[in-house]
């Protein structure tokens, strides 16, 4: 059984279809890159996987013990976050919220988990800093640490490197690669086909032509020169 199996999925909003006939599977330990042009429905597809939007048709089946609230999400930045007064610690800790249920406050273990994930992302020194004063790369690390507090199973990343400079981008990719090696399954939206091919195990191309395959097949089909 796979973590996620999508069958003939159509996604869109306000009744308008932006992507149709999308089928793919994600297994434990995979690193799937979703690529496609602007407006081809990448973010909409991701929101559908997360359950924020209903699929217009087709279905998404979750299995292998993956529960709905065990998906960590790294969204694109919103306007609200740009001037939001919040410390790094507060934001990372808020990833533990799904573990709380109706309990109003965080337990010791959850605070420890938040600290551990801050260390893992190399941001424990920033924990009392204000989120809006951090650099783009640091902000992404904060959001990654938060997502890791929510789950160790599956992370969905929506263009995690957009707006970052080349050095920071490379670091970010390394970080994500390391997480994948530690056993975290990754689904990532990317603009950057070159890096997608370098790091991913599977590629889903959406838009006019929908294509889902292991990386090797994709490279062969697209005739990409790998060196």
């Amino acid at each position: 059984m796979s973590y996620i199996e999508a069958k003939n999925l159509s996604v869109g909003y306000d009744g308008e279809v932006v992507g149709k006939d999308i089928s793919f599977t994600v297994n434990k330990g995979d690193y799937l890159c979703i690529i496609g042009d602007n407006g081809s429905g990448k973010t909409t597809l991701m929101k559908t996987i997360l359950g924020l939007k209903k699929p217009l048709s087709g279905e998404i089946i979750m299995g292998d013990g993956l529960k709905k609230n065990e998906i960590g999400y790294l969204p694109q930045q919103t306007v609200i976050q740009k001037d939001f007064p919040a410390s790094v610690k507060e934001i990372v800790l808020s990833g533990c919220l799904s573990k709380c249920g109706m309990r109003p406050f965080y337990k010791k273990e959850e605070k420890a988990l938040a600290l551990e994930n801050m260390k893992r992302m190399g941001i424990e020194a920033l924990q009392d800093k204000c989120y809006r004063e951090l650099s783009g790369g640091q902000q992404q690390r904060v959001l990654l640490a938060r997502a890791l507090c929510a789950t160790e199973k599956l992370l969905l990343l929506d263009e995690p490197v957009s707006g970052l400079d080349p050095n920071v981008t490379a670091e970010m990719y390394k970080l994500i690669e390391q997480l994948n090696k530690d056993g975290v399954t990754i689904i990532m939206i990317s603009h950057d086909i070159e890096s997608a091919v370098k790091y991913a195990s599977h590629i889903l191309h959406i838009g006019e032509n929908i294509f889902f395959a292991e990386k090797a097949q994709y490279v062969e089909k697209m005739n990409i020169n790998l060196n």
Partner: protein, 277 residues
């Protein structure tokens, strides 16, 4: 100062202080979330709705207007929140439309069907609060205390969830938090606070109690908890000073509190300027 303490012997003055401080405190707690979520306008729209509801209640000659005004405002809060989320620009226009209509129709109703001898005075005090110290019955004070305690307890219990929903609604939703439910909770609480606050500062000025503490705190502090705590302290201080001045100087209580808020905000702006270097 002595004059102020001698006034404290009157129950009316004590009631006004208790109610004023509690309402300001409650409004400021929710204010942080509303300002950050770009929902400040909801408070403004709702206060106009509450005015309209108040007009209907006085035309109907209800003895306890609260029973009509409160549910009506809560219903409108829920409606505004939903339209505002489903279509951004249309939502904005919808709120403007609802609030202006409520204001106009409210005044029209009062004018045509009103039985009061002092219509202008009634309208003015509904819009801007009482001209002098507010006169409250003990039962009204008790109601206000009970509701305030409920609001504060709910806020503390859901503090972490409200933070998460405010900072990143999509993430909260994706990790299984019922963000729609919390938005609803926020809307209902703010409607309740607005209706309560109308007695104090009037329907036009109530949004000041919501936005000024949050905006002032955001000039100075950088974590959500500190912003929340400071805005609560700010609100209580300004409410106390405003009411005290209005008693001593005989100024209208609502606008004096708001004036204290404005002064506080300017001080925080200045302080933030130097603090940040």
């Amino acid at each position: 100062m002595e004059k102020f303490f001698s006034y404290l012997e009157y129950p009316i003055v004590r009631y006004a202080l208790i109610v004023g401080i509690l309402i300001s405190l409650c409004a400021s707690l929710l204010g942080v979330t509303l300002v950050l979520k770009r929902f400040s306008f909801i408070g403004d729209g709702l206060s106009h709705v509450a005015f309209g509801a108040m007009a209907i209640a006085s035309v109907l000659n209800l003895t306890d207007k609260m029973y009509l005004v409160l549910p009506l405002t809560v219903v409108c809060a829920v409606l505004i929140l939903w339209t505002g989320q489903n279509a951004k620009i249309k939502g904005d226009a919808a709120i403007a439309m609802i609030s202006v209509s409520a204001l106009a129709l409210g005044y029209l109703l009062m004018n045509v069907f009103g039985t009061s001898a002092n219509l202008a005075g009634d309208v003015c005090s509904t819009l801007f609060g009482s001209t002098s110290i507010i006169t409250l019955k003990l039962s009204e004070v008790m109601l206000c205390i009970v509701i305030s305690v409920i609001v504060i307890v709910v806020f503390i219990l859901f503090y972490n969830k409200l933070f998460s929903v405010t900072f990143d609604e999509n993430f909260a939703k994706a990790s299984g938090t019922n963000s729609q439910g919390y938005n609803l909770l926020i809307a209902i609480i703010i409607a309740v606070i607005i209706v309560l606050g109308m007695n104090l500062v009037g329907s036009l000025l109530i949004s000041a109690l919501v936005i000024f503490p949050a905006l002032s705190a955001m000039r100075l502090f950088k974590s959500f908890r500190r912003v929340t705590v400071f805005s609560a302290i700010f609100a209580v201080t300004c409410a106390f000073l405003g009411i005290a001045v209005s008693i001593i100087a005989g100024t209208p209580v609502g606008s004096t509190i708001v004036a204290a808020d404005i002064a506080g905000f300017l001080i925080c702006c200045l302080a933030g300027h130097f603090y940040a270097g």
